[in-house]
Symmetry: C2
Subunit: 548 residues, 2 copies
């Protein structure tokens, strides 16, 4: 694993007594964690001291250098606000159970922790790596640091190979597949898709609430899920979502699982954070519900319907023992019989890979912009408008001195100027509150796609591997080392994988189309409402000055 080195672009003074690390412009740091959340990274400085620093204050470096960068500093969020926010959030740090809560042993059961597939970096302890991060963590050869998907990663594929990929292609695995397990791919080569959802439904994530257990010793947030098909509410904690996510990733080697919200390092019980996480979980749930395969799979069904504590554990165990995972899952696929044009599939794979790479860069860039704008709205923009407000208000204050002293002047003007001051102050407040209506929801959509895009290179690699295996078999048959009939079977099974991949690629493009359309429209509408509010507020202010 290659170390990620960064260089500090600006000075940052860590809050004393917090986990923050004081860094100096030009200083080189080794990043130890990028999944801290909320714009923070963890790293070690040259003195071996570990701590958190704002990601935006550093830049990745190729060769360590002590030269300060030549670029001018961008407008920074003012130190005070950073400080204050962090201080507030870190006040909760010691007082509530922390990683523990998310990752403690499952109190509903007493059994051993669920098994992990070999060779994955899923780690369930404090400070463990997060599924989304394994790709970047394991990539030694990544040249492009703009996006993670450009980096080759063989994890999913090697798991697939080591488990049962080869056996599936060679037809040596036999598993019992019930009708309920079967998944259908339909259509012809030009329009291949998963069999559409027969009974579309939604699942509402609502009313996150703080619950306690062990007589109040432990507290956690529970999210209420209500599927529309039965209208029965179930209560799930983040760790349940996390367990579900691992199951889905394990089971579906060709389907990118939408990501969960990033693990957040601080402010977990803050109202705004909880509300936002609820929205992020809703986006995750929606994405699953829209997927023809994921929305109907058993582990998901168990997750959104099981209300009974006693039924939960067996269902959980059953999911963990599911044999139709990884390559074995292909046994459950029912696809058209028509052989697929291999060259065309390879072309699709190639073009999908290129697209995913470009989209990944664009999505990350837009996410960074979204995060940056959110911070700027809540920090500098807000302050700027409030500074304007203060300047007008002070003028009004000065005018009111004369109002008090004489009767000759227009008191209405004084109050109108003060009102203008208050208006700009309120506009500042509006800026503060705006991001949760536009940038944050857009960021949530982007987050889902960022996760999906990150899974794609692996998925494409799985198919490439399958095709390679088929070529190997074709050579064996040419060399008379494999029966023609057996090769026929290999070809058929390769096509099954290709059908599934093409169905998934098409689902991805369809999702991309509808979800980005929706997100962009909603973003623009909210932006319009926002600026319209400003116009209206200014109009009210203007009216105070009278008509003449």
């Amino acid at each position: 694993m290659s170390e990620l080195k960064v260089q500090a672009l600006y000075d940052f003074t860590g809050e004393p007594g917090s986990s923050e690390l004081t860094i100096e412009t030009g200083e080189i740091l080794t990043v130890t964690r990028k999944d801290v959340g909320e714009g923070w990274w963890e790293g070690i400085n040259k003195d071996g001291k570990t701590g958190l620093f704002p990601e935006a204050y550093v830049q990745e470096i190729k060769v360590p250098s002590n030269q300060p960068p030549a670029i001018p500093p961008p407008p920074l969020p003012e130190g005070n606000d950073w400080g204050n926010t962090q201080t507030e959030e870190f006040q909760n740090y010691e007082s509530v159970d922390f990683w523990d809560d998310e990752w403690d042993d499952d109190s509903e059961g007493g059994g051993p922790p669920y098994p992990h597939p070999p060779n994955t970096t899923h780690s369930a302890g404090p400070g463990g790596n997060y599924p989304q991060d394994k790709y970047s963590e394991n990539s030694g050869a990544g040249k492009d640091n703009k996006g993670t998907v450009g980096k080759k990663n063989l994890n999913r594929f090697s798991t697939f190979v080591k488990s049962s990929g080869e056996s599936y292609i060679l037809g040596t695995v036999k598993l019992n597949v019930t009708e309920a397990d079967k998944v259908y791919v339909i259509g012809t080569e030009d329009s291949i898709s998963w069999k559409p959802i027969q009974q579309p439904y939604l699942c509402l994530v609502a009313s996150p609430k703080k619950e306690t257990k062990l007589k109040g010793l432990k507290s956690f947030i529970a999210y209420q899920l209500t599927p529309t098909f039965n209208n029965i509410q179930v209560s799930r904690r983040y760790k349940h979502f996390d367990w579900l996510h691992l199951r889905l990733e394990e089971k579906f080697s060709l389907i990118p699982i939408p990501p969960l919200p990033d693990k957040q390092f601080s402010g977990r019980y803050e109202e705004q954070f909880i509300e936002h996480r609820k929205n992020q979980l809703q986006a995750f749930v929606d994405s699953i519900c829209r997927h023809p395969v994921l929305s109907t799979c058993k582990v998901w069904e168990h997750f959104i319907t099981c209300t009974d504590g006693k039924r939960w554990k067996p269902g959980k165990r059953k999911a963990e023992k599911d044999e139709l995972v990884g390559a074995n899952y292909f046994l459950a696929l029912e696809t058209p019989e028509t052989p697929i044009n291999l060259l065309k599939v390879e072309q699709e794979n190639e073009s999908c890979g290129k697209f995913v790479h470009e989209m990944d860069i664009a999505v990350k860039n837009l996410m960074a912009t979204s995060l940056d704008q959110t911070k700027k709205h809540q920090g500098p923009y807000k302050r700027e408008y409030q500074k304007i407000g203060q300047a007008f208000y002070s003028l009004g204050q000065a005018f009111s001195i004369e109002d008090a002293a004489s009767g000759t002047v227009d008191k209405n003007l004084t109050s109108a100027i003060k009102k203008t001051g208050s208006t700009y102050n309120e506009i500042g407040q509006l800026f503060d509150e705006q991001p949760k209506l536009d940038w944050e929801p857009l960021g949530d959509t982007l987050h889902i796609f960022k996760g999906i895009l990150a899974s794609f290179p692996d998925i494409l690699q799985v198919q490439k591997g399958v095709i390679q295996k088929r070529r190997d078999c074709e050579k064996l048959t040419f060399d008379n080392k494999m029966e023609a009939s057996q090769l026929q079977e290999v070809r058929r099974r390769t096509d099954v994988v290709s059908y599934a991949l093409l169905a998934e690629i098409n689902h991805f493009h369809s999702e991309r189309n509808t979800q980005f359309k929706k997100a962009m429209k909603s973003f623009l509408k909210e932006q319009m409402v926002f600026y319209q509010k400003i116009v209206d507020m200014l109009g009210v202010s203007l009216a105070e000055f009278g008509d003449d």
Copy 2:
């Protein structure tokens, strides 16, 4: 004169080959000029090197200190833009005649330079101090650096005393005052005013153009003035305005003369600068035209009506030889005979002083905000919106890869996303262009009032001196050293000054009322138009995504 020391808050790297001075955070500089303009100051560093640096990068210090300031840096304008703008502007620096043009000998006449009243700091050479600056320059005891008006300044008053103030009060000066010279104050103690303008008129400042003389060797900007009462255009250069301003200041010891635009150090031939100076001169001219006394005085009349080069010089000489200046001017005042309540006048003087002090602080604060917002609109805000635009556009670009590769996706979405990108880019451009419609005109009004406010302490001091003289005379009479009839004359003449001051204070409040009302309304209207434009542009973008 006490030296102004400042400490650098940020690093600033001077453009090589320009007049800019490279400064380091914490460095102490001695300011040599504050009238450079456009946010620049000139100073000397510890190595004796002189150069320009941005005013916003330093803070005034009381005691030299090598400790860097503890406050966090505010969002800075990015270095690049500063650099670029300045480079462009400084390119003109050597190529055009510079101070020379504004201050060269008057080619219309061959006579000696016009005389300066003794004891004023008016200086007509390069680097000379500007009228507006004399107050701060001469104040050694000023404690309050927020506003200049709080600092006592005896210049105007001492000129007044040394010239003929005492003679006027004691009635020892006799000058012939024609009916045309007379100026009337009307009303009773409760509503004293200058006799209103009989025939109100405007004077349009238009079409500034570059003219040359000496067969093109010298070039300068000429502003065209057209009074509405005769509709005959005259051409005036900045130096003519400057000459006029000196005459008005000299003549009217009780009337604050609206200030001319600040002398600008660079970019004098830049289109935008010339357009802005035209607006500022218009504000100056308007302010004169609205004043019952100034709008009818002879030197002003000469200035706005003289078209004949041969008539210009005699009129100019006549104005310079005018004897009804300073305290002598009071001989021309015709006021009601009713004696004024001295205590009430003193109270008015006091309360006006306090008000002027507060308003001065508020006006300067708002001017700083206006300048700051202008810079931010043209720099960081513009860039922020263009960054957003770029992020959306890149996403559109990524999407178009897939559009090219397949027919299954919505090409309309791709173009709509790109369009959103362009829209935000255009909004960035809108931010750049906006200040000249809202902040700049507001700043122009503020500039006029800043100059007027700066003159008030002197004017109030003139009257205080007059009252003191009257008290002296009252004591002399009490001691039988002055005739009662002579004291009666002294009292009458004191009242004349008080009547004029009260008329001017009332004019000031009336101006403040109407002009701020107008400026605020216009500012708010333009702000509304601006944000409405953004709403409309976003609406067009939104429509691209279709209705479904």
